[in-house]
């Protein structure tokens, strides 16, 4: 990290673990539950949020001195909505197949609390470059949890990873299915995502006691 000063690199590294937006700040839970049934969807969502959060943070940061305090939330909402619509339209025009794959994710980005949270808590008070790093860092922390949850849900729920049958064929009874293993269909439903996130939070806080609130 010679490229970044120590202070700047903390902006990226902190949200990955000790200040993770999902497990510590408990933001962005809705999308973490909704779209993690497959690993691929998790990765795509993580990347999309990263683009929107980084660009949005920079825009908000540039405008931070002219946005009126009374309507700052509305202004933030309009900026993120406009960004998402532009990304959606550009993808439809120049990468139509990719935009079909992303389908609902693009629209879901607007509803992500992390985005509004970072605009409000960081970009409104910091310079563009630091806001950009903060956006990348928080989106990476969010994406990390999404990918962990997506990995376990797809592996245990469907027996596949990124669509590849890593555990064998459940119908033809090959691989581990030959020994009587069965997919857990419950993993595909949202409540299991909450349980997995709960386990991650538990593991994280028992390793680092400083994170436990009184």
């Amino acid at each position: 990290m010679a490229l970044l000063s120590k202070k700047d690199s903390r902006l990226i590294l902190d949200p990955l673990a000790d200040n993770n937006p999902i497990t510590i700040q408990v933001l962005g839970i809705c999308s973490a539950l909704a779209i993690t049934a497959q690993l691929k969807a998790s990765i795509v969502m993580a990347l999309s949020v990263m683009v929107v959060l980084a660009v949005g943070n920079v825009v908000i940061s540039l405008l931070r001195n002219v946005i009126p305090g009374k309507i700052r939330i509305i202004a933030q909402l309009i900026i993120v909505a406009a960004l998402v619509i532009i990304v959606d339209q550009v993808l439809k025009a120049f990468a139509y197949e990719l935009s079909k794959q992303l389908s609902v994710f693009i629209g879901l980005i607007i509803t992500n609390c992390i985005i509004m949270g970072r605009f409000e808590a960081f970009a409104l008070a910091n310079k563009p470059w630091r806001s950009f790093l903060d956006g990348i860092g928080n989106a990476a922390g969010y994406g990390l949890i999404l990918i962990i949850v997506g990995f376990f849900r797809e592996l245990l729920g469907s027996g596949t990873l990124l669509g590849f049958k890593v555990l064998g064929d459940p119908i033809a009874k090959t691989g581990v299915y030959a020994f009587g293993y069965e997919n857990n269909g419950f993993m595909l439903l949202s409540p299991m995502a909450l349980i997995i996130i709960g386990i991650i939070i538990w593991a994280q806080r028992s390793r680092n006691k400083a994170l436990i609130e009184e």
């Binding site: 909704a34 779209i35 049934a37 497959q38 969807a41 001195n65 002219v66 946005i67 009126p68 305090g69 009374k70 309507i71 509305i74 202004a75 309009i78 900026i79 406009a82 619509i85 532009i86 339209q89 550009v90 439809k92 025009a93 120049f94 139509y96 079909k100 389908s103 609902v104 994710f105 797809e154 669509g163 119908i171 269909g185 595909l188 439903l189």
Partner: protein, 267 residues
């Protein structure tokens, strides 16, 4: 310190400017990209129609691979021999029948019961075999679902393509995956002379889909309502074409076709 941004007049001025800037920016982007987007949508429709009749770039049993966008226009005209618009008992040829908006036709027909809706039908030919490709549109769990089904001259399904606007990823969204769509191949939509369609059934004890004459395919776990939507869509939209297809079949065999019973969903 009172900042200039706290004044009411500034707040109003800022919101007016912001709305104007963002509004015109979005309008400009939408206007500038519209022709490109609608062309992409047209190509996609051609790809879907071709996919339903088995013209695709699929390899093995993996994912759906369409004919590349660059070649789709020429391929479409190569395989699709005739495009018909059926209105009542009449069928006319129309080379742009695939652009007919089924959603508009449906709402028009719902508003005005005397309106004879335009039903587009595509007749394709591949390796000397004739395919009748029927467009469909229905409701999933969250939003619209649509698709195409191709039938051979005996009204046996040759292939299907489904798509959706916003079904749940990993659950209902899997209707556009091959492991679901491939099951429809070879299924019969007729039971004797009566139209039954195909039911997306849970617990039909046939997960490998070996029985082709049961009018059933195995459902997707966790996607009951989307599956029911697919069933309803096939029953509703394919039924409208049965009288015409039976007539074609009769004319081809040069014998009077038997009177057919169709389900109550058509009038």
């Amino acid at each position: 310190m009172a900042r200039f941004t706290d004044k009411n007049s500034y707040t109003i001025l800022f919101s007016v400017i912001m709305v104007l800037v963002v509004g015109s920016l979005l309008a400009g982007v939408a206007q500038g990209l519209r022709s490109k987007i609608s062309e992409n949508e047209r190509f996609e429709k051609q790809q879907n129609i071709l996919y339903a009749m088995g013209v695709d770039d699929n390899e093995g049993t993996g994912s759906v691979t369409f004919i590349p966008t660059k070649e789709v226009e020429a391929t479409f005209h190569k395989y699709i021999k005739k495009q018909l618009v059926i209105q009542g008992d009449e069928a006319t040829e129309d080379d742009n029948a695939y652009l007919i908006d089924i959603k508009k036709e449906e709402s028009h027909a719902n508003d005005d019961h005397n309106y004879k809706r335009k039903l587009p039908l595509f007749i394709g030919e591949k390796d000397g075999k004739t395919f009748y490709i029927i467009p469909m549109r229905g409701k999933g769990l969250w939003d619209a679902i649509w698709g195409f089904v191709s039938l051979d001259k005996d009204l046996v399904v040759e292939g299907v393509y489904f798509d959706h606007k916003g079904e749940t990823p990993g659950l209902g969204a899997n209707i556009k995956e091959r492991f679901f769509m491939d099951d429809f191949q070879g299924e019969q939509i007729m039971d004797g002379n009566a139209f039954v369609g195909i039911t997306v059934a849970k617990g039909n004890n046939d997960p490998l889909n070996e029985r082709k004459d049961d009018q059933k395919v195995d459902a997707l776990a966790g996607a009951t309502i989307t599956g029911n939507g697919v069933t309803a869509m096939i029953k509703k939209d394919v039924a409208r074409y049965i009288p015409y297809l039976e007539k074609l079949k009769g004319a081809e065999k040069n014998e009077t076709s038997e009177s057919i019973q169709v389900s109550d969903s058509i009038q």
